[in-house]
Point group: D2
């Protein structure tokens, strides 16, 4: 789990660098299409972070609650609410 | 669960009708923006189906496997692979 | 343009078949993960339709309005409103 | 246009702050669901940036090229390629 945390932190630091790079591009009036390409790259990187965090949560917290027979349903409600926030579904 | 199946089937029948409506619009040379608005509506409807199927799967199959201590990890691997297919993440 | 219309109609007919296939899967109680995989396939197919319709619209209607100097701004407003509907952005 | 650039830069600075906030949350072992909620907020903020950049590009660069009768097709090809990068469509 600590290895996971470190990997996620590294991804987030790289994303921070990418966002700063975007600011530079906008500031220096870079070509719009190049800016859009870079925004798309950051979005994919963020989606990777989301999937990794979700993965750790499902295998850790949710699986423990379900296996322990306690809080399982509440954890599943919460999980599905989080999944919904990543879609346009309601 | 059977109530859920019925609700999902009803949603899919409505989606089929919407897709046929789209064919009519294209065939009758409807205005592109109206077609796009309708495509977006079908996409949201499909996303709702996906979330409902996922919800039933997580609360049924996955929760049972995890609580039963059998197959739990395999079910979680499979679940996360399905979630990834709904993102652009890799 | 008529070749495009035909191609889009063919895509929509295939999507209709996929949606009917989904109904069958749900009706026959297929495995949830297989259903989800199929829903994801239909979503990608629909996104392809949206991009093709948008492509035709931008190159036809919008380009004509902008080049003709008439209605150009209104067409661009309308176009960007349609693009926004395909994102979660506001 | 310069007002737009400033607004986009401000959005990107806020996003950089949100990404640093995410690092802190991960570092301090915040609850996964709270992290996911925050990731979803950053994704929406990035999507808003993308739509704003696209908007400026379409109204500026693309409209000029199309109206000028020069490079119009090349600009439209490039634009549609950028739109495709924001979808899973191929």
């Amino acid at each position: 789990m600590q290895a996971d945390t470190k990997a996620i932190l590294n991804r987030l630091r790289r994303i921070e660098g990418q966002v700063r790079g975007l600011q530079r591009m906008v500031d220096e009036d870079a070509y719009c299409i190049d800016i859009l390409t870079q925004v798309a790259a950051v979005q994919t990187a963020l989606e990777n972070v989301a999937v990794e965090v979700l993965d750790g949560h499902v295998r850790g917290c949710v699986a423990d609650a379900v296996a322990g027979g306690e809080d399982g349903d509440a954890k599943l409600d919460e999980l599905m609410a989080a999944v919904r926030r990543f879609t346009k579904a309601r």
